[in-house]
Amino acid sequence: MKSHEYDKIFSKFTGVEGDLIPLLIQIQERDGYISPEAIRRVARFLKISENQIYGVATFYPKFRFEEPGKKTIKVCMGTACHVRGGKFLAEAVGWHFGISIGQKTPDNRLDFQRATCLGCCTLGPVVQIDEKIHPRMMVTQLMQMLREHE
């Protein structure tokens, strides 16, 4: 992210400590992660230490500090999806690419995340690939989709 883009985000905030989390959310939505550069700039803007920002940001599982892969696959791990076999979907992605939840493939193409609940529990188990939610998934169906995406 360029300097003026940070300024654009900062201009929406007043610069009080309470802005920290919404600010980080906006940066992450823009960049996909929070870079050391972003932390430095936020620290200067809010006039708090970088340590304090890391302390807050690492508390919340939402924030990530490494660049994500190009395509994101999120397997829902909500209770309803779990009861209907969501665990198998997560494992399938895992053994197919040799990565576990929270990791990305070495070629940076695929990012594998868990979702706590995607809010469509009656359609479970669900998988979200980029923005699209796929309802009532099965392992074989997911494998086929992943092969198509490769």
Binding site: V16, E17, G18, D19, L20, I21, P22, L24, I25, G55, V56, F59, Y60, P61, K62, F63, M77, G78, T79, A80, C81, H82, V83, R84, G85, F88, E91, A92, W95, H96, A115, T116, C117, L118, G119, C120, C121, T122, L123, G124, V126, I133, P135, M138, V139, T140, M143
Partner: protein, 629 residues
């Protein structure tokens, strides 16, 4: 004041014109659940069909109406007919319905779910009344009354349906009388704990200080619950009106909506609703000439489960880690920025306009003594008719699960309420009334409204492990019982699900769970052991089977199950060979296949293929043999 009345009158006229006009109306359920099922594709198909046939129609994207299992839902209302609802609509089906209904006057009763007209209308032969459907009939819609009926992004729709009348009533009563009225109605916190709302307000109102805050809690970290999200997506103004009423009652001039940043649609709708309120003079200084000032901030939270706890939520809004602190002082005395703060759940606030508008005695007709009113639940899991429901308190679990939900697919095993803080109740609790005290006495909690139905394919031990895993990850780490205790409980539960546990582990688990429950600082830790304690109490035999016989009745726990092929059924179609990632299945075409147990990773791919592939014969069995592992 006058200008709002004018706007209300205009909104009512427009609403009448829309509903009684000559142009057909097409409603599409475009909340999160609808979108996931493909509502936007249906919407595109509807637009295209209309364009192709040069038809004119109003398209109204609405919120969730309840039966999410039928999503995407499309309703059509054309002159001469009441509104008719169609379920599981695909783009092709939408096209067919529109062409048939709008061009040829045939509403296709075989595809319709229900109609919203009067009983016995001859034009509607073969279509049941929507609210007479088994899923809808036992329900009472108070909070959800507008969900699915109005355009959530149009304040005029809300105004035309008695919107902001509750606020006007509140202004005419005065703050003290509003608290009195809500107390009279017997409204209790719908976030789960059930603290009387009016009492909380009174403490805050009487607390010294000029500046007070109101926070609307939309953190909803409970996985498997979507009531709050659906309510905001379907009817944001009812929550906002509720906030105005609550803020007026406690004397707060600033409100925060703390919302999970993943709720993109809900946030967008709240922002839009806020703009509309500003334009209508419902926010800012001296609202409607009442002398009441109120300003609103929509605060996106980073979605940690612990932030549902009041003091942690406050910490998160202040830009700190979401860690609870010991109470007292309670937030109602010293909360956000050290000022008196009331934190109310979305549903509590969403109920207020109705209570004010219709009066406390009206509200008390729903529910039972001590538990008045209604409660929304997200009824999900292994259930035939899952969705968003609203029922009067005091209803039996059996009515919810079997009458509304239609029962589970396979044999019913239990129901889990209250998410990670709640408990699993077995079959014998089906006649338990849904009341705060009764649920707590059974070891569970009412919770914010997640209700997950379990059938014989669910392993209670695995479910307890799932929840403990969740709370262990979400534990903030401040107090030892919760931080270390949950971790140890996870370890023991893992041992049990792997068949490595011994009998002493069970008593160890019990002691640990009780210690964590008693010694933890905040609600997260105090309730985290509930899933373990309730499953230990009601499903003890399954724990013992895991430990002694290495047997998982539901065939869920991986280390205790084996995949095998039924030689009687296998027709040798070789479909499973193709999907097996480890080449564990062998067998020539038209001959019985075999699974190599050493290679099998139990991924379930072959099982699915064998069940659902047209050539396959459903021969693969996942079973747990007693004393196998």
């Amino acid at each position: 004041m006058n200008s709002l009345e004018e706007k209300i009158n205009r909104a009512r006229q427009e609403w009448q014109a829309l509903n009684n006009g000559k142009t057909p109306i097409i409603y599409i359920g475009a909340a999160t659940c609808g979108r996931a099922a493909g509502a936007l594709e249906v919407l595109a198909a509807v637009r295209e069909t209309l364009k192709q046939h040069r038809l004119r129609a109003h398209i109204v994207p609405v919120g969730c109406i309840g039966p999410c299992y039928l999503e995407p839902l499309m309703d059509v209302k054309r002159p001469g007919y009441p509104r008719i609802c169609y379920g599981s609509v695909t783009p092709a089906k939408a096209r067919r319905i529109l062409e048939s209904f709008l061009l040829e006057d045939d509403p296709l009763p075989e595809l319709a779910v229900g109609h919203f007209g009067r009983d016995g209308d001859p034009a509607l032969e073969g279509i049941p009344r929507f609210f007479d459907l088994p899923m809808l009939k036992p329900q009472v819609r108070v909070v959800l009354q507008n969900c699915g009926f109005i355009d959530p992004e149009n304040i005029d729709h809300y105004l035309a349906n008695d919107g902001y009348q509750g606020l006007l009533k509140a202004f005419s009563l005065g703050p003290e009388a509003v608290i009195e009225e809500v107390g009279e109605a017997g409204l209790r916190g719908r976030g789960g704990a059930g603290f009387p709302t009016a009492r909380k307000w009174r403490i805050c109102r009487q607390a010294p200080g000029e500046v007070k805050y109101l926070i609307c809690n939309v953190s909803e970290g409970d996985p498997g619950a979507f009531m709050n999200r659906s309510l905001i997506e379907g009817d944001p103004h009812c929550v906002l009106e509720g906030m105005l009423i609550a803020a007026y009652a406690i004397g707060a001039s600033h409100g925060y909506i703390y919302i999970n940043s993943d709720y993109h649609l809900a946030i967008a709708r709240l922002k839009k609703a806020k703009e509309q309120m500003e334009a209508y003079g419902l926010l800012g200084e001296n609202i409607l000439g009442s002398g009441f000032d109120f300003d609103l901030t929509i605060k996106e939270g980073a979605g940690a489960f612990v932030c549902g706890e009041e003091t942690a939520l406050i910490g998160s809004i202040e830009g700190r880690r979401g860690m609870p602190r010991s109470r007292p002082p309670f937030p109602a005395v010293s909360g956000l920025f050290g000022k008196p703060t009331v934190i109310n759940n979305v549903e509590t606030l969403g109920t207020l306009p109705n209570i004010l508008r219709n009066g406390a005695s009206w509200y008390r007709q729903f529910g039972v003594k001590g538990n008045y009113g209604t409660k929304t639940f997200s009824l999900v899991g292994s259930i035939r008719r899952g969705g968003l429901i609203e029922v009067p308190l005091g209803i039996k679990l059996r009515q919810i699960i079997f009458d509304i939900g239609g029962g589970s697919w396979k044999k019913f095993k239990g129901v889990q309420t209250g998410g990670p803080s709640g408990g699993c109740l077995s079959e014998e609790f089906l006649d338990l009334p849904v009341e705060y005290e009764a649920m707590a006495a059974a070891g569970s909690i009412m919770g914010s409204g997640g209700m997950i139905v379990l059938d014989e394919d669910t392993c209670p031990v695995d479910l307890a492990l799932y929840f403990l895993h969740f709370t262990q990850k979400e534990s903030c780490g401040k107090c030892v019982p919760c931080r270390v205790g949950t971790w140890h409980m996870v370890t023991i539960l893992e041992k049990i699900t792997r068949g490595q546990a011994v009998a002493e582990d069970l008593s160890q688990l019990q002691i640990l769970a009780e210690t964590v429950k008693r010694a933890s600082l905040c609600g997260l830790g105090q309730t985290a052991p509930n899933p373990v304690l309730t499953t230990l109490r009601y499903f003890r035999s399954e724990y013992l089977a895991h430990i002694k016989e290495k047997f998982c009745a539901a065939a869920v726990c991986r280390e205790l199950v084996e995949y095998s092929i039924d030689p009687e059924k296998c027709n040798g179609c070789q479909q499973c060979l193709e999907v097996c990632p480890t080449a564990a299945i062998k067998g020539a075409r038209a001959e019985v296949h075999q699974i190599d147990q050493f290679r099998c990773i139990k991924c379930k791919a072959c099982y699915e293929v064998c069940r659902y592939h047209p050539l396959a014969a459903n021969a693969i069995v996942i079973s747990s043999g007693r004393g196998v592992a």
